[in-house]
């Protein structure tokens, strides 16, 4: 095995969990309750993921059910035997099976405040969450344009209003939550533009009413935004954001069910920020890197790893839960985490402790089944709309990192970039520091549209390390030149 220079020895544990949101933290706590040695890694400073993010820097945070749930999870994690390593960015995951090949194993490397941490375990749980999808429009790279999920981070965790007058646009349940959150924080919201039409919401009412508490909160958000004087525009999207050095004006216009612009009056709003999000995409870089089998699901956010009833991927010992395994929301993430915790306990030989575990499995599976209709209804509102992607203007930047435009992507495809990886080589799109996280879903759709092929045929970019940009200095850490082993010269 290649040793990372300067790293301490590889510590062996029973379970490594990456991602301390509702799914990962729940799995870690469950496995630790079963007596397993669990290390939980997260790049943020506390558990909770994005949905239950902890306030920082003296901000007291909001008082809402999410804040309470996050605090409860953090308290349970604190009281558990889980070894949590926050502020650790996982940059490498490799398979490290036993020499006889009989026991699966994984080696995980993460850079933290004190250098590199190397771990080995026979079981790896991925709870890596989601990235925000923002389908490009002119001006989407301007300072002052932030994601919907990004706005929730500002409101829940940082304690910042992104502007004084903020347009909110996009789709899905976050749209109204953020609009209401901004209004409550004293921000003027001149307009809320929803890609979905009223019919899209009405069609989902049966599923939504299955969760009355959430339905009531949704109605409350809508009322709060509307009562503040915001123009509630359904079936509208962002045409463009304008301003020389940051957002000063946002232009909205009507769209069809596929997100394609309809002819109709454009409405312009003076604003100093635009909060916009078009759903979420799965952060499935690790399963891609480990060559697990994936399938494309427009409903669940794009490419998702295939998992069995235990949430185990096609790579033995590798589990995938939470939004990183398909956009299904917090409730399903928490339940999947519990399910994996139980499974790891059972595999450690504790299957029949008084028969209790068997009934626990059944109970979690029942709750998962009950949670699906609401979750699917919300996922449907957030799914990528092909017409919106087809509508991207030729001179609009698609890859933010490398400033690659739609026209350049189309030209490369026409000039025989035949695969998604080849397109990257031709244009550099997806090659910048975000590693394709923010353009991948759009670029793949553009290629599918151009070649008139299904997304399955276009595929996804090959997963490669490092998973996060890390500096050589962070990896190597402090070292002594005398400690560097110098190999003997080769014999002549």
């Amino acid at each position: 095995m290649n040793r990372v220079p300067g790293s301490s020895d590889v510590s062996s544990v029973d379970v490594i969990v990456i991602g301390a949101g509702p799914a990962g933290a729940e799995a870690a706590i469950g496995a630790a309750e079963g007596g397993l040695a669990v290390t939980l890694l997260d790049e943020q400073g506390a558990s909770g993921g994005q949905v239950w993010r902890a306030p920082v820097g003296g901000y007291p945070g909001k008082r809402d059910p999410e804040a309470a749930a996050g605090a409860a999870l953090r308290a349970r994690l604190q009281a558990s035997a889980v070894r949590a390593a926050f502020g650790h960015r996982v940059w490498s995951v490799v398979r490290d099976d036993s020499p006889d090949g009989l026991t699966p194993g994984f080696r995980v490397d993460a850079v933290g405040p004190h250098g590199n941490l190397s771990l080995r375990a026979p079981a790896l749980v991925l709870a890596t969450g989601a990235h925000e999808r923002v389908v490009p429009f002119p001006g989407w790279t301007l300072p002052g344009v932030v994601g919907l999920a990004a706005a929730t981070v500002l409101l829940k965790s940082h304690g910042l209003a992104p502007g004084r007058r903020v347009v909110v646009a996009g789709c899905g349940p976050l749209l109204l939550a953020v609009a209401a959150g901004l209004v409550k924080a004293g921000v003027e919201v001149p307009a809320v533009a929803d890609l979905s039409r009223r019919f899209d919401w009405l069609a989902r009412m049966p599923a939504v009413l299955g969760r009355p508490a959430l339905a009531a909160r949704g109605a409350g958000w809508c009322a709060r935004a509307a009562l503040s004087g915001a123009r509630m525009l359904s079936g509208h999207g962002v045409r463009r954001a304008e301003g020389p050095e940051g957002v000063e004006r946002v232009v909205l216009g009507p769209v069809d069910a596929q997100g394609r612009a309809l002819s109709g009056p454009e409405i312009a709003f003076e604003a100093d920020a635009l909060v916009v999000g078009h759903g979420l995409t799965t952060a499935c870089e690790v399963t891609r890197m480990l060559r697990a089998t994936h399938r494309f699901s427009r409903l669940y956010g794009g490419w998702i790893p295939e998992v069995d009833e235990h949430f185990e991927t096609t790579v033995p010992g590798l589990f995938a839960i939470g939004d990183g395994a398909g956009i299904r929301g917090q409730q399903i993430a928490s339940l999947a985490g519990r399910r994996v915790g139980l499974e790891l306990w059972a595999r450690a030989g504790h299957a029949d402790v008084g028969g209790r575990r068997g009934s626990d499995f059944e109970s979690v599976d029942r709750q998962l089944a009950r949670a699906r209709p609401f979750s699917d209804a919300m996922s449907g509102l957030m799914a990528q709309r092909a017409g919106q992607v087809a509508d991207i203007a030729p001179d609009t930047v698609v890859c933010r990192c490398e400033d690659v435009t739609r026209a350049e992507i189309d030209t490369a495809i026409d000039q025989s970039a035949g695969s998604i990886d080849q397109l990257k080589h031709f244009t550099r799109c997806g090659m910048g520091p975000c590693q394709g996280r923010y353009c991948g879903d759009t670029v793949q759709e553009l290629m599918a549209l151009r070649l008139q092929e299904p997304r399955e045929a276009v595929g996804q970019w090959t997963g490669r390390p490092p998973l996060r940009p890390v500096s050589l200095g962070e990896l190597v850490g402090e070292f002594n030149y005398d400690d560097i082993p110098i190999p003997k010269p080769a014999p002549l």
Binding site: E43, Q44, G45, Q50, V56, G57, G58, Y59, P60, R89, H131, E132, T141, L142, P143, G144, V145, V146, G147, A149, A150, A151, V153, L154, L155, S157, H158, G159, L160, A161, P162, G163, R164, A185, E245, G246, D272, A273, A283, V397, R400, C401, E402, D403, G432, P433, C434, R437, Y438, P469, S471, G473
Partner: protein, 92 residues
Amino acid sequence: MSASLLFKPSRLVAVTVEGETRQMPEGMMLASALAATGLRVLRRSPRTGAPRGAFCLMGACQECAIHVDGALAQACMTPVREGMQIELRGAR
């Protein structure tokens, strides 16, 4: 250009941004602390030189990567500490 704090910080500390001292709430994430002082253009894009600022706020997009005490760091994941030296990447 008017992002604003939603709370009264208990402690402000001095941070140097491009040689100029700014007061920021200790422990607040740098991207938001900079925005609260009116600074949201953090760098220029490499190819067209377009202005860029914090975008995802969760450590993934790298738009807010700036030099903190000489090393590249994501401003949305870096808490404010007293005496930090910040250099923006071509934004000023």
